[in-house]
């Protein structure tokens, strides 16, 4: 329970804080707006990871966070000419890593599911002493 409350509170702080910053920056074609969106996405992802008990949902939340970061990278790349194509390359790399991570993560979850007969991470407490 405390997890949900804390997660909710954290996400709220993020969303409100970033929203305020975005509003203050104003304008449609500004870096701040992209970063705000990225921050919002990341906060949502983080909330999802902390609050959801279903392992599949948690993997999805991770994907959300990765994409938020990707968005921030692309935004920096397009607003800062000195970065050139480096931003796109890093973004592609992150996508590849995300795909690999999703594959491995889902495999692990499937393997655990076969053993535990449940997708709920609360039940996965084998590592407790």
């Amino acid at each position: 329970m405390i997890r949900v409350i804390l997660g909710t509170a954290l996400a709220s702080v993020f969303i409100i804080g970033l929203g305020l910053i975005g509003l203050a920056a104003g304008g449609s074609r500004s870096l701040t707006a992209y970063l705000t969106l990225s921050g919002l996405l990341f906060a949502i992802g983080m909330f999802g990871f902390l609050a959801r008990r279903n392992a599949i949902s948690m993997v999805m939340a991770i994907e959300l966070m990765l994409n938020a970061v990707n968005l921030a990278i692309i935004a920096f790349a397009s607003f800062n000419p000195r970065l050139g194509s480096a931003g796109s390359v890093i973004a592609l790399l992150v996508m590849a890593v995300a795909a690999a991570e999703a594959t491995v993560g889902l495999s692990i979850i499937l393997a655990i599911f076969r053993n535990k007969k449940t997708p709920l991470v609360d039940e996965y407490d084998a590592m407790r002493q």
Partner: protein, 658 residues
């Protein structure tokens, strides 16, 4: 040729030891063959080597013959070679060790014939011969130290030979531990020699230590001398480390004769004689040697006068004679000390083997109060022991007279009149207690247990032959070794000629001038005094324990003994209780030492251990508490990560905003 012959003297008994140790159990009553022949062969080679060394034939010459066998420890600048060295001194020791060793081996064939550990005994005896020969032949301090420990080991094994006997096991342990005390000193002395000279070879290091051109030594030479003397004190049982030797009599009698009378206990005397220039450079240390020697002599002699165990009397007598030798070394009469070492080795070996024969005859009884009147029943033993007793008492012309008179005379003439004064009293006591032993054992009425009385028998020839063979040098050795004149100072005697190169440097350091022998002067007077006290001692013992001088009837006078001892009750009790040295040691090390140890144990348990345990307990407790953090739930950990991220991002924002 001698490169092979000299190591062979050690190798032969070693082979005998290894063979007997491995195969002896299966040989039964033939187990003695290999060890005895090994020692016999070593004896033959040893006599040939000694003959060549003493006649200074090539390759021995004046300086002696050294041969390196191999480099033992090659470690950069630290080189220790294992080698042998033979000069006049070594040759004298070779004669004593090998001859008595061989005779004791032969004697043991008879003495140990009924013992179930027959083969074990001969294996140990061979091991002892190896160690002792290595000790006198080794040319570096480290080799000598190894041999020093090896003789200690074989002494331990042989004292505790009858290991099922508790007293024997304890005596073996006591000998070993008391020897350790001295060995610590010797080991430190060797280190001090190395620090001073950078070499462990005995001759090289002495050369460096005594060369005058050298800058001040890092460790003063008197410290080196006293440390070496500490080692000698342990092995030669000098006060206050003398307590182990009387107890060592728990071993079989041949062992007492070989190790604890004739050879091993002489190792200390040999060591000091070998390093005589070191001592000669430290006159203060020599006074200490002389004082401890003569004190041991009178202490042990006073105890020997009242003991009732035949072997213990001889043990204290050995202590006393060793004290003479050390006193002689201390006053600077090195040749006299070696002279006494040789004669004493033979007549004390004889006396011990004789006492073994007596004990054998009366069925393992050692108490002299249960003997008496044995002279007729075991005539060979009686005659040989009588010869030995006359020799040790110092009646001319037997061996002991010459060597003892040399020591006393030298002490007097070299300005140590106090050593002479004590020594002459010791000579009186020696004559008395030896004839007390003879009187109680062989004269008077028989006090033997009636059950044993009819079975008293003379020992077999294999035991009596060594006795007679030892009686010959006991009679003649003094005369032989002084052929050509009194051995000292004038330097004309046979022994003095043999040993002259060995002690030349020491005598030179002491600024000795050769002096003529004055028969009708001081020497004659000293000689008369020695003979007089010896005769008085013998007559007194004769009167009290043997023949009544007035009536010339063979009747001891026990009443008189009782009244005499009652007149000096303190002295009598002190002597009987060995001046309470065992009790003193018990008080010091068992009672007081035990208390200290108990306190230290408490400290260790309560303070040291508890500190360590408390640290461990704290760690365990902290772990028990902290493990609650590890819930095993993924999202709790993720929450931690998220909080960490926020803290990092937040602090970055705060710092960047500044």
């Amino acid at each position: 040729m001698f490169e092979l012959l000299v190591p062979a003297i050690i190798a032969l008994p070693l082979a005998g030891f290894l063979f007997t140790a491995i195969a002896g159990r299966r040989l039964g009553k033939r187990a003695h063959l290999v060890p005895v022949w090994a020692v016999g062969l070593a004896w033959a080679i040893g006599m040939w080597v000694a003959f060549n060394a003493l006649t200074r034939a090539e390759p021995f010459g004046d300086t002696g013959f050294a041969s390196t066998i191999y480099t033992w420890i090659p470690a950069g600048s630290f080189q220790v070679t294992a080698g042998v060295f033979v000069d006049g001194l070594t040759a004298c020791l070779l004669i004593v060790v090998l001859t008595i060793g061989l005779l004791v081996h032969v004697y043991s064939i008879g003495y140990m014939s009924h013992d179930p550990g027959y083969w074990r005994f001969f294996a140990y005896l061979n091991l002892f011969m190896v160690s002792m020969l290595l000790l006198i032949l080794g040319d570096s301090f480290l080799t000598v130290f190894v041999a020093w420990e090896l003789v200690g080991l074989s002494s331990y094994l042989l004292i505790g030979f009858w290991k099922h006997k508790r007293s024997a096991a304890l005596a073996a342990k006591k000998a070993f531990i008391v020897n350790r005390v001295g060995d610590v000193g010797f080991a430190l002395g060797i280190m001090a020699v190395f620090v001073n000279t950078g070499t462990l070879n005995i001759r090289d290091s002495i050369h460096v230590l005594t060369s005058a051109t050298l800058a001040p030594l890092p460790i003063p030479i008197w410290v080196v001398a006293l440390l070496i003397f500490a080692g000698a004190m342990g092995k030669s049982a000098q006060f206050p480390l003398h307590v182990w030797l009387p107890d060592a009599m728990e071993g079989p009698t041949p062992v007492s004769a070989l190790i604890h009378a004739a050879t091993m206990v002489n190792a200390g005397v040999y060591l000091i004689a070998r390093t005589n220039p070191i001592f000669a450079s430290a006159p203060d240390a020599m006074v200490v040697v002389a004082a401890i020697g003569i004190f041991t002599a009178i202490l042990a002699a006073s105890i020997a006068m009242t003991q009732t165990d035949i072997k213990r009397v001889l043990a204290y007598s050995t202590l006393s004679q060793l004290g003479y030798m050390f006193a002689s070394l201390g006053v600077g009469a090195f040749t006299a000390a070696i002279f006494h070492l040789m004669t004493h080795g033979f007549f004390k070996g004889l006396l011990f083997l004789g006492s073994g024969s007596v004990i054998h005859a009366v069925h393992e009884e050692q108490d002299m109060r249960k003997m008496g009147g044995l002279a007729k029943k075991i005539p060979h033993t009686y005659r040989t022991m009588l010869i030995g007793s006359i020799a040790i008492a110092g009646i001319p012309p037997l061996a002991g007279f010459f060597s003892k008179d040399e020591i006393l005379g030298e002490a007097f003439k070299l300005g140590f009149q106090w050593v002479w004064a004590v020594g002459i009293v010791v000579a009186l006591m020696t004559a008395f207690y030896m004839f007390r032993l003879i009187g109680l054992t062989f004269w008077g009425e028989s006090r033997v247990d009636p059950a044993v009385e009819p079975h008293i028998h003379e020992s077999p020839p294999v035991m009596t032959t060594p006795l007679w063979l030892l009686a010959i040098p006991s009679i003649l050795l003094g005369l032989v070794l002084t052929i050509g004149g009194p051995p000292l100072f004038s330097g004309t005697g046979l022994l003095a000629g043999w040993l002259e190169p060995v002690f030349a440097q020491g005598e030179e350091l002491l600024h000795r001038e050769p002096e003529a022998f004055q028969l009708f002067g001081i020497d004659g007077g000293l000689l008369l005094a020695s003979v007089a006290v010896a005769v008085i001692g013998v007559l007194a013992a004769w009167r009290l324990f043997g023949v009544n001088l007035w009536t010339f009837r063979r009747r001891p006078d026990p009443e008189r003994v009782r009244t005499l001892t009652a007149r000096v009750p303190f002295l009598y009790r002190a002597s009987l209780n060995k001046w309470w040295f065992d009790d003193l040691n018990h008080l010091l090390f068992m009672v007081i030492g035990g208390r200290v140890a108990a306190f230290l144990w408490w400290f260790d348990r309560r303070v040291v251990d508890d500190t360590v345990n408390d640290v461990a307990k704290t760690t365990v407790g902290a772990g028990a508490e902290l493990r609650r953090v590890q819930t095993g739930r993924v999202q709790n950990y993720a929450l931690g990560i998220a909080l960490g991220l926020i803290v990092m991002a937040g602090s970055f924002l705060v710092l960047a905003a500044r």
